[in-house]
């Protein structure tokens, strides 16, 4: 029972972090029609930036500021150099972002090194929670992820830039006719996508390992959240990420992690086949 609770909680909190990363993928996918194979590596860059910040400044908390900021800049740069020229053609974006993924991984391998490292949680200690001792940092990570998710949705619905992003996604030509600078919105969207993944990386860094291959496992999971949540359905994406990860945590309490992964994949294929429009179609809008 304790094990179930512990793994369920772990799954839930990991799901909140994944939701953050998957949202970044979903805005890039939904708005730019870019199938971003480098998105897992954007997350990985976030974990590495968290590690680097801790090394250079001795302060982990600065990472929450620095990593998303660098993510924003890198995202804007990549959009201009790599994504803009291919004009949002999905098939080409696969090749371009695959190349990007290789380059990011290799750059990190050169600078950071090939050996995985660990970051000690900046908040040590545990708190009693429903009869188990639970790590304090994970609770904190969950709070950060929830805050970031809320901030993102507020940004999307309550600011001018957010409205522009939704307008361009809804109808690009009309949006341009109304005077919305679509190209700047594309740039911003990609940059925000990178920043969200990088932020997810900082939050996750003390929970997982910092490794130049850290994004490889994350990537399919994020894509599944995007698809199961329903293409273009951002709240659905976040909900699917949390649900998937929570279920995997629950299954892990009775089986080993690989079996849990297989079970969640089988579940996912069932959802894809029975409800290809996404699990939450009809619940929003």
């Amino acid at each position: 029972m304790d094990k179930l609770l512990l793994l369920g909680m772990n799954g839930l909190i990991w799901g909140l972090i994944i939701a953050l990363i998957a949202l970044g993928l979903a805005v890039i996918f939904g708005l730019l029609d870019i199938i971003n194979l480098a998105h897992g590596d954007f997350f990985m860059v976030g974990t590495v930036l968290a590690w680097a910040t801790l090394q250079w400044t001795g302060n982990f908390w600065l990472g929450f500021l620095i990593a998303p900021l660098i993510g924003l800049l890198l995202g804007a740069l990549i959009q201009r150099v790599v994504i803009q020229p291919i004009q949002n053609v999905a098939a080409l974006s696969i090749v371009a972002t695959f190349g990007l993924s290789l380059m990011l991984q290799e750059s990190v391998r050169i600078t950071f090194g090939p050996t995985p490292r660990r970051i000690l949680p900046p908040i040590q200690g545990t708190i009693p929670l429903f009869g188990i001792e639970y790590e304090l940092y994970r609770i904190f990570a969950a709070l950060v992820a929830i805050t970031a998710l809320a901030a993102f949705f507020l940004f999307l619905h309550r600011t001018r830039l957010g409205t522009w992003m939704r307008a361009v996604r809804h109808d690009r030509d009309t949006a341009i006719a109304m005077g919305i600078p679509a190209h700047r919105v594309y740039l911003l969207t990609f940059a925000i996508g990178f920043a969200l993944a990088a932020l997810g990386g900082v939050v996750a860094a003390p929970i997982t390992t910092v490794d130049f291959r850290g994004g490889v496992d994350i990537l399919p999971f994020c894509f599944m959240a995007v698809i199961i949540g329903g293409l273009g359905n951002l709240p659905g994406t976040a909900a699917a990420a949390i649900l998937l990860s929570f279920l995997e945590g629950i299954i892990q309490s009775v089986a080993d992690p690989t079996v849990a992964r297989i079970a969640s994949l089988v579940l996912m294929s069932a959802v894809l086949l029975l409800r290809p429009q996404g699990l939450f179609k009809g619940f929003t809008r």
């Binding site: 098939a91 090749v95 380059m103 991984q105 894509f223 698809i227 894809l272």
Partner: protein
């Protein structure tokens, strides 16, 4: 004057002649290591061709072809190391396993299209990747299964086997050329035209009476066949099979090779595969971080040749043909339009 079609035919003939001469010309010109590099290119080009058959001719983007590659590989490895079978039955088991798997998963997968299809093929391949990792007794997991390869042909005391590098290369070449020839026949057959109809407009294809679901399933099975042959050849070539080759990265690489070479063209996948493997081999002997160069090549190709290398080549040929049209005819055409 030579027409573009003739130029292409001559180039194909030159390519075939070069490939046939490899076991003798390459060791003389460079060194014998490159014979095995070219053999590897040929094998992987079949995996890229399997992606191309689905994406370039039917419009389905599969991110899970490594699954059928893996089944071809393990079919061979398990037949030889566990069952003690000889060369040809093992080859057959690898291909049958891959095609059977393609049919079994295709029944579900081809109900979906585009993004959904791409995701479900990844999901299926990941399921079997993790199964292969956990069932070490059968697959050896990450470490894989090693085996000694039985002779390919033995007539009396005479034997031909993969221990002879020239025979190994020529055998691989023969199988790969056979597959490309079959592919050529396929895309020019009524079945191939039906595939193209589905790629261009699924609704219209179904309205003229084509069974879209069944045709997609056939294409998926055929793509599984190509991937299976590729995997079986790779198992023969490396004398081992490993679960790592079933990971989605391998599928992704094949997609990249096919698109860079030119999706929807017969030789595109071969060219794309050749570019990436040659660049990797050349750079990796000088610099440890060859992935940087490989990644940059992928990005540069899509920016400057969005229809792949074959697209670039075809554009160039078309311009060449245009220039040869006599000036008077050109002027006349212009006034008419």
């Amino acid at each position: 004057m030579i027409s573009p079609a003739t130029i292409e035919r001559l180039l194909v003939a030159a390519l075939a002649a070069f490939l046939l001469s490899v076991p003798w010309s390459i060791p003389a010109l460079i060194n014998s290591f490159w014979v095995s590099v070219i053999a590897e290119i040929l094998i992987w080009s079949l995996l890229a061709a399997s992606v191309n058959l689905l994406f370039g001719y039917v419009g389905l983007l599969s991110f899970g072809q490594a699954l059928y590659f893996g089944f071809g590989m393990y079919g061979v490895a398990i037949a030889i190391s566990d069952f003690g079978w000889s060369f040809w039955p093992a080859f057959a088991l690898g291909i049958v396993a891959a095609v059977a798997m393609a049919v079994a998963t295709g029944i579900f997968a081809v109900r979906l299209t585009w993004h959904y299809f791409a995701i479900i093929t990844v999901v299926f391949s990941l399921i079997f990747y993790f199964l292969a990792l956990t069932n070490k007794w059968l697959t050896g997991g990450d470490d894989g299964v090693n085996f000694t390869l039985p002779a390919t042909f033995s007539i009396g005391a005479a034997q031909w086997s993969f221990t002879d590098p020239a025979f190994q290369y020529l055998f691989i070449l023969a199988i790969v050329l056979l597959c490309f020839w079959l592919m050529h026949r396929l895309v020019n057959s009524p079945l191939g035209h039906a595939f193209l109809a589905i790629r261009n407009n699924e609704v219209r294809a179904s309205l003229i009476g084509l069974n879209v679901y069944l045709l997609r399933l056939i294409a998926f099975a055929l793509a599984g066949f190509l991937a299976g042959v590729s995997g079986a050849l790779f198992a023969f070539f490396g004398r081992y099979a490993s679960a790592t080759y079933m990971f989605y990265h391998v599928s992704g690489e094949a997609v990249v090779w096919a698109i860079v070479g030119g999706a929807g063209t017969l030789f595109g996948p071969l060219i794309g595969t050749a570019i990436f493997i040659v660049v990797r081999e050349i750079v990796s002997s000088h610099w440890e971080h060859h992935s940087l160069v490989v990644g940059a090549v992928a990005i540069l190709v899509v920016i400057f040749a969005p229809r792949g290398v074959m697209g670039l080549w075809r554009d160039w040929l078309a311009r060449l043909a245009d220039r040869r049209v006599p000036a008077s005819v050109e002027a006349k055409l212009r006034t008419e339009s």
